[in-house]
Amino acid sequence: MKTTYREAMRAGLRDAMQRDERVFLMGEDVGRYGGSFAVSLGLLEEFGPERIRDTPLSESGFVGAGIGAALGGMRPVVEIMTVNFSLLALDQIINNAATLLHMSGGQFNVPIVIRMTTGAGRQLGAQHSHSLEGWYAHIPGLRILAPATLADARGMLWTALQDPDPVLIFEHGSLYNVAGELDDEAGAVDIDKAALRRRADGHGDTLTLITYGGTLPMVLEAADQLAGQGIDADVIDLRTLRPLDAHTVMDSVARTHRAVVVDEGWRSGSISAEISARICEQAFFDLDAPVERVCSLEVPVPYAKHLEDAALPSVARVMAAARRAVGANG
């Protein structure tokens, strides 16, 4: 069937609500407004205000209430409008959700799912555009998901809800309108493994492009263009940023001998730094070239389109990094 990322997310939510009466959605404007990105549009009419629960602008309060409800046996899905707003709930996410199981000696797990929009590209300026999922991936106790495809948008939520521990789902704002075909039978997907979205066929110079979330379409486009230049790329979609599926990355690098990490987050102290370090630790002798990284410039994301474009990874920057990795000139 023809669908969009937004509709696939909504189908996943509806499915979860129908299958498990403990599941409810809570967040700012998820009900009457229909969701700030229209993901939950129509669900209020279907499930009512108890289960599609509008909240005040109290990120720490309602995320904490979600954690409490999870402790109390519910399966809350908490929506935060953007990752920047989630910073108001950091206390609850990091000091409570991520710690309670360990701190309580295994007594209190927190089966909460927190969804939020991430990323730039929509001229929303520095307080609505950042990519902080890599930050969250630093925290033991959390699982971090970044659905990049329609199938993952449709299927990750249910699997996340079966996880006994807190799961954060990062939805890149540029993906909501992505349209495509989705199997009518599409359902839950695994959240443990990275996916090889494009496989190098072994001709010409080879390399592995590693990315996730909003930059996957750009990286796939770069890979297609590189193929025309005799550079043949594996494209890995990490899907889960914590725990990282290093096996899929190392298996690919063992075949291609070169790696470029593409991440819309900043470079310093980032998830791209972590991936690069793991490749150096685990696949150093497979490498024919230094690991390259394509990240956002280290500035708060600006408003003006030409400035924002210049700050973010692009097809051209990915291709340039790939060409450097294989030793091709300009």
Binding site: G72, N96, Q107, P140, P164
Partner: protein, 351 residues
């Protein structure tokens, strides 16, 4: 002998029980201080000495299925909720027999069996949890109450205000118990709040709120019973400001530069244990031999608990990384708190 003004003791047996409860907390914590000085216990240690009437009075009014959320000054709450003194002390020793297997320590006591949700050491961080526990009960149609303890310092935090609003907006079955001991660590209430009437703040959120003499265990129990009954019967959130005082330093590292010794002495004249004891003695309801038997009993309990902690085993380092995530071999996917809630997912597991 100072007594509870105007108080009579209609039920001497119950009064003796309350006296015992407060004394258990007092003696446990006096022992904690001793063990801390002997370096058996490390980390931060915040004792509740002087405030025992609050936990003792409130806990009396709860049912086993209710939930309790407390702060980092929670040894007494844990004990009176039903966590054994042995499990508490063993936790402070970092032993496997501790209620959190040595991962929590003094500030993070948890116990699933008694629905004791910490042991929360971020000031006001427990309030949203209490709101959520109450929300779960509301959504599942259960008649349970969640009681949330916090100090008056918490009212300056945003999470306090967000939680008051959510609880009132959604009419949730939660009782907020503000233990107003007048100092947020070393900062006096008047130096940190533009409005020092705390019950008034809660009332501003349309929550039924009143202030109670937190040194009078009868007054605390009576107020808490009234509030808990109202919450349980669907009356929405309630709020008690319990006016009390911490006799000891904030923690073991506090030289107490911020308050006068005379102020501490004045409050110690209203020691909740002495007040009740004096009242009972005046009424002729606490013969010396009864008091002696009571103290001997409590001392024996604490002494047994110390023995239990002393003879415990350090949580093995090989277990260190356990419980960062749930053991996938456990059947923990239903969640610890999922007792009799709704129904499990009807669909198959994830592919």
């Amino acid at each position: 002998m100072t007594t509870l003004r105007g108080q009579t003791v209609p039920d001497p047996e119950h009064a003796l029980h309350l006296l015992r409860q407060m004394l258990r907390v007092r003696r446990l914590e006096e022992k904690c201080i001793e063990l801390y000085s002997a370096a058996k216990i490390r980390g931060f240690l915040h004792v509740y000495i002087g405030e025992e009437a609050v936990a003792a009075g409130v806990m009396e009014t709860l049912a086993p299925e209710d939930a309790v959320v407390a702060t980092y000054r929670e040894h007494g709450h844990a004990l009176l909720r039903g966590v054994s003194a042995g499990a508490i002390l063993a936790e402070m020793y970092g032993h496997a027999e501790g209620c959190c297997r040595g991962r929590g320590g003094s500030m993070h006591l948890f116990d699933a069996a008694t629905r004791f949700y910490g042991g929360n050491a971020i000031v006001a961080g427990g309030l949203p949890l209490a709101v959520g526990l109450a929300l779960a009960d509301r959504m599942a149609g259960r008649q349970r109450v969640t009681v949330c303890f916090f100090g008056e310092g918490a009212v300056a935090e945003g999470e306090f205000h967000e939680s008051m609003n959510l609880a009132a907006l959604w009419q949730l079955p939660v009782l907020f118990c503000c233990e107003n001991n007048l100092y947020a660590m070393g900062t006096a209430l008047g130096r940190s709040e533009s409005q020092t009437d705390i019950a008034l703040k809660a009332a501003g959120y349309e929550i039924s709120a009143w202030a109670v003499d937190g040194m009078d265990v009868f007054a605390v129990e009576e107020a808490a019973r009234r509030a808990v009954d109202a919450v349980r019967s669907g009356g929405g959130p309630h709020f008690l400001e319990l006016r009390t005082y911490r006799f000891r330093a904030h923690s073991m590292f506090d030289p107490e530069l911020y308050r006068e010794k005379s102020e501490v002495s004045r409050w110690m004249e209203r020691d909740p244990i002495s007040l009740l004891r004096g009242t009972m003695q005046t009424a002729g309801q606490l013969p010396e031999e009864t008091w002696d038997a009571l103290t001997a009993d409590v001392d024996a309990e604490i002494s047994t608990a110390v023995g239990f902690a002393e003879n415990g085993t350090p949580e093995p380092v090989s277990e260190l990384t356990r419980f960062v995530y749930s053991d996938r071999t456990d059947d923990s996917s239903t969640g610890t708190g999922a007792t009799g809630v709704g129904q499990a997912g009807k669909g198959g597991a994830a592919g």
